[in-house]
């Protein structure tokens, strides 16, 4: 059996620089990430927080920031009582030029066995990264209602 992790690959017609900007700027993240702002200075060792409409959803620390190739932060949920007691996990974005495209690989790992957070992020990331791809390619992010994701407490 594979270890509990979530891997998502998508190909985007953009440049690594633009994709990096979209992954690290609140101006963009608010559009494709359910209104989420990214609170950090992106320096290795700095604190990191995902703030959705004023509510801190997740926190962590910047682990790697090798612009525009690799970005990594630790990730711990902050709100749901059950999930916030799970151990910190790790998010890694790899950005690779692929012809005129960029191959984006997200790996979210280090989950506890039976993690509730793993179920939640497995529903969340495809929506966030699909919307990011739409925004970069067509200029318009997707309008997905949070309730459509089927994550308990995320509406």
């Amino acid at each position: 059996m594979r270890k509990p992790e979530f891997v998502y690959v998508t190909y985007i017609e953009t440049t690594p620089e633009k994709l990096w900007e979209a992954l690290t700027s609140s101006e963009f993240s608010k559009r494709y990430w359910f209104g989420t702002e990214l609170k950090t200075d992106w320096k290795v060792g700095s604190p990191f927080a995902l703030v959705m409409n004023g509510t801190t959803m997740d926190t962590g620390e910047i682990l790697e920031a090798d612009r525009p190739r690799r970005l990594s932060y630790s990730f711990q949920h902050a709100r749901d009582d059950e999930m916030r007691n799970e151990r910190p996990t790790k998010v890694v974005f790899n950005l690779e030029p692929h012809g005129k495209l960029v191959k984006l690989t997200l790996t979210h790992e280090d989950f506890e066995d039976g993690s509730k957070l793993l179920d939640g992020i497995s529903r969340g990331w495809p929506a966030i990264l699909s919307s990011l791809k739409s925004m970069l390619e067509s200029g318009t992010a997707l309008a997905i209602p949070p309730s459509a994701l089927g994550i308990e407490g995320f509406e």
Partner: protein
């Protein structure tokens, strides 16, 4: 064949600014598939028991399958057997399900590749490499009118694993 015996090995979800009808059309017609699926033509007889074929640009049959469930534009289950000698005999049937659901103004497309026995990660690496490329390109096609040009290396890890099992590969 009892599809209840099949367990998901690969699941890939993608959201598309489109309608369920257009996503269904893109998944089941050659007109669209040639653009997002490396020139391959999908020929689907859309009824249970109907033929489901993906024809390579040279006209040869690459995927030889059958429609198992057909509920347009919501759900399509097909057998997805790569047409290489001894493949089905050694690996069993590969089952692919597309589920199409509205999610606000967008559509959620969920692909599931399932098998009736444990399949080695080396062999699954082929699908793990291929599906994100195919479905990323399908999304771009429906949203922007242009599919992506994704140059893929042959799935060497999968081909080596199949060869070791005595499956004829190109």
């Amino acid at each position: 064949m009892n599809i209840d015996n099949f367990k998901p090995a690969i699941v890939y979800t993608i959201y598309i600014a489109s309608t369920p009808e257009k996503v269904w059309q893109a998944l089941t017609t050659a007109e669209f598939s040639r653009k997002y699926f490396s020139g391959f033509a999908i020929e689907a007889e859309l009824k249970v028991g109907g033929a489901f074929v993906a024809r390579a640009p040279d006209g040869s049959v690459h995927i030889n399958g059958e429609v198992i469930e057909c509920d347009p534009p919501n759900k399509l289950t097909i057998t997805w057997n790569v047409n290489w000698p001894a493949l089905v005999e050694k690996l069993g049937v590969t089952l692919v399900t597309y589920e199409i659901e509205r999610a606000g103004d967008a559509v959620r497309l969920t692909l599931t590749q399932a098998h009736d026995r444990p399949i080695d990660d080396d062999i699954l690496s082929g699908g793990r490499q291929g599906w994100p490329a195919i479905l990323s390109s399908l999304k771009s096609l429906l949203e922007t009118g242009e599919a992506l040009v994704i140059k893929m290396e042959p799935p060497q890890r999968m081909l080596a694993a199949l060869k070791k099992m005595g499956i004829g590969t190109p």
